[in-house]
Symmetry: C2
Subunit: 340 residues, 2 copies
């Protein structure tokens, strides 16, 4: 096969400057170890030939690619996009680049990402996908490359993880709603077996109990989609004694619920208070604006990236960076109020 044309090599620069390739390499990587006049001579030759180091060749020898794989379920999801921004800011600050691993429900792609890791194409991996990727009979975490999980917790695994304390946040929502004087509650759940949902569910239940609510709260089954929130609303509307406070496991469902009950003349927050989770952009714009738990998405990404940097630059002493939990404050907007 025809190979692409070659560019100027380090040898060209060395020849022009009348020095060895070793000296050129050192001038570029550790300028302080070469004498000033030599440095000047080499830099002149570099400029003259407009030389750029071949990173691939450098990678081969130094066994580093300065690339991090970020595995996401779906790049088009704005939630992850914001996390990505935080990741990028931190990683690019340390000279690392990002390879996007978009799962898109494809086992083939997942296997390919596992290969990337085993074949030394990346120096580290950030997992936003809630599981350890696998393919061709092996798991990503048995490769000799550091992994850090973010946002979507991965159970039964010893990786460092970064996220928020979902349970505590949900508990605070419960306290808040009880504080507003509510007595009858409902929870709109996420998909069965989703770990985030389990934590938020548990936190909400505990919070109610802790605040002295005896009566068990209602439960609508959802799956994190707008539609499932709407479905919960139609169920809600059939009830003769309706709950006055709704906590949805995410904002999409909260908004789906809210829009649907409004169509039947139910007023929010007069008749029912609604609280979501995530603080997606839309929650600031819908009518009424949505009270919700704010996830510091960019900060989550940045924290995870920093953790990964520690692992990659792994001074042995700090070889075990531990998991981190970030603050997730509730932001009060107009969809919740004291009981009328």
């Amino acid at each position: 096969m025809a190979l692409p044309p070659r560019a100027t090599r380090i040898a060209d620069v060395a020849a022009l400057a009348g020095v060895s390739t070793a000296t050129v390499s050192r001038t570029l990587a550790n300028p302080e170890v070469v004498s000033p006049q030599m440095r000047e001579k080499v830099m002149a030759a570099v400029r003259q030939t407009s030389y750029t180091r071949n990173i691939v060749a450098a990678n081969l020898r130094s066994r580093q690619t300065m690339l991090v794989l970020v595995v996401v379920p779906d790049i088009a999801n704005p939630f992850f996009a914001e996390v990505l921004r935080g990741i990028d800011k931190t990683l690019s600050g340390s000279g690392y680049g990002i390879i996007i691993g978009n799962l898109a429900n494809s086992a083939a792609k997942e296997a390919h990402f596992v290969d990337l890791v085993f074949s030394g194409q990346v120096d580290g991996v950030l997992l936003l996908c809630g599981h350890v990727p696998q393919g061709k009979g092996r798991q990503m975490d048995v490769a000799n490359v550091p992994l850090v999980a973010v946002c979507e917790f991965i159970p039964h695994v010893t990786l460092p993880q970064v996220g928020i304390d979902n349970q505590a946040a949900a508990q605070r929502v419960a306290q808040y709603l009880v504080g507003l004087g509510h007595k009858r509650f409902a929870y709109i759940s996420g998909p069965a077996s989703n770990i985030l949902d389990k934590q938020r569910d548990a936190g909400f239940g505990n919070g109610l109990k802790a605040a002295g609510i005896r009566k068990p709260h209602l439960r609508f089954e959802g799956d994190f989609t707008f539609q499932s929130g709407a479905l919960a609303a139609t169920e809600f509307l059939t009830l003769k004694q309706r709950p006055t406070a709704i906590f949805a496991a995410n904002d999409e469902m909260a908004i789906g619920f809210l829009k649907t009950v409004q169509k039947s003349g139910v007023k929010v927050p007069r008749d029912v208070s609604v609280v979501g989770f995530d603080d997606i952009e839309y929650s600031e714009y819908c009518e009424p604006t949505l009270t919700t738990v704010h996830q510091p998405r960019s900060a989550l990404g940045a924290a995870a990236a920093r953790l990964l940097l520690d692992c990659m630059q792994g001074h042995e002493e700090i070889a075990k960076p531990r998991s981190q939990y970030l603050e997730a404050p509730m932001v009060e907007r107009l969809s919740s109020a004291v009981i009328g």
Copy 2:
């Protein structure tokens, strides 16, 4: 510096199978050129050692990285995220990976991306950023790597580009509004010197003229933000003879306008029709839902990626893939109606 530990090499596999490294390499890359029994022997050794090819080494020799750089102004922008999805689908189908080049207004990062290209780290580049990246005194397009521009047109440049025909789309909006019986129009512009704005502006003006509207339309200066749409609205409200049809250069501004006039009791579409551009997700959810021009974002990404693949796999005959324009239909929703 301590190097990471080494993995199994092709030489290990060759030794185990009792063949040369050349044969192993061929078995993996072109199985059809080795004899079946040899193939079996090698594959057994591969399985036994759980060998994975070192991609970096392969890249060095074959001068291909199977990586494409995608330069975006801001990864957190949902518009680009959707384009990215189309890109990813096409590129990953052909075995290419994606490196994200998030500009984030940083000249240093831009320069770094230029370096990536010149240093042979990527095989091709997709530009969603409306300009040819440059840094350290050189432009990306003088490197020997194919570039394709998407969405944001780059003027005065011979690259293949993929986008929609903004002018034609805006012209259709004008026709549509005139068809509804409107007589007084206003345009909310994008930032000065933005090429997309210029095209939409021109198209709208031409469309009105072509439909027989003599009176020049009003013009509110905006910058693509929600706030600038709101600002246009306050200006609009002070007018004694208000336009009845508003075309905003993007959806954010259209919605900013819409929300703001509603607060003053102006009814949409009874008192004024509003049309946006882009068809962002929110335009389907706002009240009333927004009539707008739909950009086939994912398809745009996919088309650009296909074009780039052609360039990269560059059979000389088709070495000049030309620019492409995709259909951008107007979608009629509830923010526009016949004049009351």
